[in-house]
């Protein structure tokens, strides 16, 4: 890794022209006397264009620039979990100690703590003299209370194992083994290795997704399921609740590891995660949520070029845990800001803009990024997955804009947020008309096996009722509610029950914030049972009013926040009360009929 030195010729915001013969495209550079971080993005003769991850204020033409001989890479090893990094993987808590409340420039700190000792347990199968293949497991470290970090041979190395350290406590820089490569050279193995962020980590084979990612959010799990290893987008105008949806997934999803990339978003939102996650409990393991969470923070006021990098930094760390056999969820909030960073850099380079000023390569970059999601068989045979959930922030809430439109072509699950629903405080404001999931059939197999064979039928029935509701609402808006028949008005009531009792879910309510699959299905089953039984009564001639006036109805609407996921039996009891109440009405009505005849 030789260091090459050149000089700066021109500075135009975050883009610099340098003269440095022999530098490679993509190579990292140290810029000027401040030693800012940057990356070569184009070569032209002896000059190169560089994008700086830090503000270039105060940098002068003529100052030196040093080529570091490697592309932008991240450190992968124990100590990632529970941390908060910036867009180029600098540990923000260490930066805080080094430069105070505001982020200073030219600070170079290793991402992982070099002083901390980790208890390493070598893998018994890795015998001295055996040949190790790329990605093979050589030992384990307990990284957090719930995550056992598997130490792997770097994906681009293989060879004969010459040495392997015995069980014991090691620092990251301590050698824990030695490999003899095929060309005869030997390489030391450490608890961590580096990997370039723009190169997807290799795997043996790609698999289909099989099981749904359970998020505890009814509209997601029950209506528009996402599989582990799937890719989805959450588009919505500001104020529609993208961030809350993402945070709810980060809190409640049944993934092993959650990586949250705040890309060009609000500083306070990241602080919210930073302050609340260490106190929140993971509903599956019972441990603190922060023990499985990792944050990448490029807030909107941080330099735009680092924003472009942050998403790759996040996904590379996700792939690393995937290779250890974990199910990882990567939340990218928001991919629009990432696309805007692309646009800004391309604009500064004078590249021809196509749609809305975005460069022509927007669609292919987006597709290549989302393609890094998936369920794979890793090089070492373990099965892991990266589920990618990208927030999209369309200008003016217009879903036909380039980023939303291109994203929609790539992803399999689309959770469209609606301004109208948010304005009416219907949260999560996911619009059941505009959303879709290509995973329903696969998810159905899981639901039918684990929860109820009725799942797909009931889901379809509810969506049908909601579609009827939209049709009838149009009629009401034209000619008024009096034009509807009793059966139609009951359909409106049924749809309202689904909306209020199932779809709406409060992230702030301690009970309602998470619903187990069983509770989700029972609530749906209850609302539809009420609707079905009610429809029979209405056919007999009983008035809609009589049914809506039942005091039980308010209890049905409140059931989601009255009964927790552990109190599913009480939902069943309530459902039984409804059956009895309706049977009673039917009986009384029959008597009344008899009497009047």
């Amino acid at each position: 890794m030789s260091e090459k030195q050149g000089i700066i010729r021109e500075i135009n915001g975050p883009i610099l022209t340098i003269r440095l013969p022999g530098i490679r495209n993509g190579e990292q550079v140290k810029i000027g006397e401040l030693g800012l971080f940057g990356e070569v993005i184009a070569l032209k003769g002896e000059t190169a264009l560089v994008q700086s991850y830090e503000s270039t204020e105060g940098v002068r033409p003529g100052e030196p620039v040093i080529g570091l001989g490697r592309p932008l890479s991240v450190e992968l090893g124990p100590g990632l979990l529970g941390s908060i990094f910036d867009g180029v993987q600098r540990p923000l808590d260490k930066v805080l100690l080094a430069s105070g409340d505001h982020i200073g420039r030219g600070i170079h700190l290793p991402a992982l703590d070099r002083e901390r000792l980790w208890h390493f347990v070598p893998e018994p199968a890795s015998e001295i003299g055996s040949t190790l293949s790329p990605g093979q497991l050589i030992g384990r470290v307990q990284e957090s209370a719930i995550i056992q970090h598997r130490i792997l041979v770097p994906p681009d190395l293989s060879g004969e194992l010459l040495e392997l350290a015995p069980e014991g406590d090691y620092r990251l820089d301590d050698p824990i083994g030695q490999l003899k490569l095929s060309d005869g050279r030997s390489r030391k193995l450490k608890l961590y290795h580096n990997w370039p962020v723009r190169t997807p980590r290799p795997y043996r084979r790609r698999d289909h997704g099989l099981s749904p990612l359970i998020t505890g959010q009814r509209i997601l799990d029950t209506f528009f399921p996402l599989l582990k290893g799937g890719k989805s987008a959450v588009p919505g105008p500001f104020g529609a609740g993208k961030t809350v949806v993402q945070q709810q997934i980060a809190r409640w999803s049944n993934a092993d590891i959650v990586i949250y990339v705040g890309c060009g978003e609000r500083g306070n939102e990241l602080v919210d995660v930073l302050e609340t996650f260490p106190q929140l409990q993971d509903p599956y393991s019972g441990h603190r949520l922060m023990e499985r969470t990792l944050l990448v923070a490029n807030t909107s006021n941080m330099p735009v070029v680092a924003r472009e990098a942050s998403i790759y930094v996040g996904i590379t760390m996700a792939e690393y845990y995937r290779d250890q056999g974990y199910d990882v969820v990567l939340l990218a909030d928001s991919t629009s800001r990432w696309a805007e960073a692309l646009r800004e850099v391309s604009g500064r380079l004078g590249q021809m803009p196509v749609e809305d000023g975005y460069p022509a390569y927007l669609a292919s970059r987006l597709a290549a990024f989302y393609e890094r999601a998936g369920r794979v068989e890793a090089q070492n045979g373990a099965t892991g997955s990266v589920t990618l959930i990208g927030a999209v922030s369309p200008p003016g809430g217009d879903f036909s804009e380039p980023v939303t439109a291109h994203t929609k072509e790539i992803i399999q699950t689309f959770w469209a947020l609606s301004k109208e629903l948010a304005d009416a405080r219907h949260y999560p404001a996911i619009d059941w008309v505009g959303s879709f999931s290509e995973h329903v059939a696969t998810a159905a197999q899981w639901w039918h096996r684990e929860i109820s064979p009725d799942w797909q039928r009931r889901r379809g029935q509810a969506l049908g009722l909601l579609a009827r509701d939209a049709e009838l609402a149009r009629i009401v808006n034209l000619v008024g509610p009096e034009a509807l028949s009793s059966a139609q008005r009951w359909e409106l009531e049924g749809a309202a029950l689904i909306k209020e009792g199932v779809l709406q879910q409060s992230a702030l309510d301690p009970v309602d914030t998470f619903a187990s699959p069983e509770k989700q299905f029972l609530l749906l089953e209850m609302m539809l049972t009420i609707y079905d039984r009610g429809a029979e009564l209405i056919e007999l001639g009983i008035s809609v009013q009589e049914l809506t006036d039942l005091p039980l109805m308010a209890r049905a609407r409140r059931a989601k926040q009255t009964y927790s996921s552990e109190q599913c039996d009480q939902i069943r009891t309530l459902m039984e009360e409804f059956r009895q109440a309706f049977a009673k009405i039917r009986l009384e009505y029959a008597k009344f009929k008899e009497h009047t005849q």
Binding site: G13, G58, V59, G62, H102, G262, G357
Partner: protein
């Protein structure tokens, strides 16, 4: 180097000046320009190479000639002097006095561009600010360290509302008032005067620092002004431990100045001719608000954005809404009905409200009451639309109740006097008066306990 003047100007266009054979000047450095009448102008290096430097001149290049223009590179970025004495003073967009009083002398000098607050240094804002305005306190609560813009439009009373917030804002259990940083970009003389008189009348003038760029002042100065003002705000908050309320008005004028300069520089335009970096640029300003761990002070930001042609999807309000923590939206319809402040609650939102209200902060029923009012109002607006089509007589009794509710809500809850300062408890009691227009079982978003305690049916 700062003593040397260069007479190598090769072009002057709009607000941009190119200087040839300049020394190795640094990106972002300040520049002094002396014209043929020996008058000084200020500028900043916005692009530089070995051969030439591109300079943005805050006062514009009008009346300059290429022969008799001298350029001096100051070898430092745009900085301002800061001292407690800035309170009570008026400055221009570059931090120079505008009140015929001497400049600030101090050894505290700060770069106006600031740098990003480390997210690890932030602490989450959660202290409720009582503005005395029901539509804000009850439904879109402001907390200390938040950035909450007012989305308005021409002819609507956003200035009066901003002034009322400044006058009345305080913490529920604290007497200490806010220090105010008032930043006006491209406002009319009348508007600037209005604020000055407001501050004088309410006796807070000594606690206010004003940065003013009038409509006929150089537009490029508007790009520096909010940065200067926020630097002052950070100083007051994090050096002097004060709680600072920053009013930025009007961000639309700021964005237009940005577009003007971007176009002159030849930047690739994106939506409506605004540069692609408008989002990042606005974020650099808005994100300077907040709270920092172990610091007593805070910066709370209330920018005013007038929506061109009342269009909330216009790039300026749109991008603002993506950065700020909510928005207070004013409505022409309510204004025409004589409702003050004409806050349209449906598109309004406060993202940080959830952690600043409820038990221990305001009152335990607050979050659910807000939620319930929102739901009823949404339903009531639907009913109002229906009534406009089929006539109110055709509505059921149940629906007519919604209409009565909407009426009472607009006039009694949203509407209030310009000097009416309602406590949060008054606001919540008023809310229950309105909620009690409905029977208990129609109020499904409040809890049974709330109903028992506050619903008026039993009283």
């Amino acid at each position: 180097m700062s003593a040397r003047e260069y007479r190598t100007v090769s072009s002057a266009q709009g607000s941009l000046l190119v200087v040839r054979q300049a020394p190795a000047v640094a990106f972002g450095d300040q520049v002094l320009i002396r014209d043929h009448r020996n008058q000084l102008r200020h500028g900043q290096v916005i692009r530089c190479s070995e051969a030439e430097a591109l300079i943005q001149v805050f006062e514009g290049t009008g009346d300059l000639d290429l022969e008799n223009t001298w350029v001096r590179f100051l070898d430092q970025p745009l900085e301002i002097n800061l001292a407690p004495e800035i309170l009570g003073r008026i400055f221009n967009g570059l931090g120079k006095p505008k009140d015929n009083r001497p400049p600030i002398l101090s050894n505290v000098r700060r770069n106006v561009n600031g740098s990003a607050i480390n997210p690890a240094a932030r602490t989450y804002p959660r202290e409720f600010i009582q503005t005395g305005i029901s539509s804000i306190d009850g439904l879109n609560s402001l907390v200390r360290g938040q950035k909450l813009p007012i989305f308005s439009a021409s002819g609507l009373p956003h200035n009066r509302l901003a002034a009322q917030i400044v006058r009345q804002a305080r913490l529920v259990d604290e007497e200490s008032s806010f220090s105010v940083v008032f930043a006006a970009m491209g406002v009319s003389y009348a508007d600037a005067r209005f604020f000055q008189e407001e501050f004088a009348d309410s006796g807070v003038l000594g606690n206010v620092v004003m940065y003013i760029n009038l409509a006929d002042d150089p537009p490029v100065e508007r790009l520096a002004l909010p940065r200067v003002a926020l630097t002052a705000a950070e100083y007051l908050a994090f050096d002097l431990d004060r709680h600072v309320l920053v009013v930025l008005t009007d961000m639309t004028n700021y964005a237009e100045a940005l577009r003007e300069v971007a176009t002159a520089k030849g930047d690739v335009p994106s939506r409506k001719g605004y540069p692609g970096y408008l989002y990042s640029d606005l974020a650099e300003l808005y994100e300077r608000s907040g709270r920092i761990k172990d610091r007593h002070g805070s910066v709370t930001l209330v920018p005013v954005v007038t929506m061109p042609s009342d269009d909330i999807t216009h790039p300026i309000p749109d991008l603002t809404g993506y950065i700020t923590e909510g928005q207070i939206v004013l409505s022409r319809e309510l204004h025409n009905q004589g409702v003050y402040p004409p806050v349209f609650i449906s598109p309004s939102l406060s993202r940080l409200m959830k952690d600043g209200i409820g038990k221990g902060d305001t009152r335990e029923d607050h979050p659910r009451v807000a939620n319930q009012l929102y739901a009823l109002y949404a339903k009531a607006l639907e009913t109002r639309n229906l009534a406009a089509i089929i006539g109110a007589e055709e509505l059921s009794e149940r629906d007519r109740r919604y209409l009565r509710f909407a009426e009472a809500f607009d006039s009694q809850f949203i509407g209030q006097g310009e000097d009416e300062d309602r406590s949060i408890i008054e606001t919540l009691n008023l809310a229950w008066e309105l909620l009690s227009m409905f029977p208990k079982d129609m109020l499904t978003r409040v809890s049974e306990t709330d109903l028992a305690r506050y619903h008026r049916s039993d009283k």
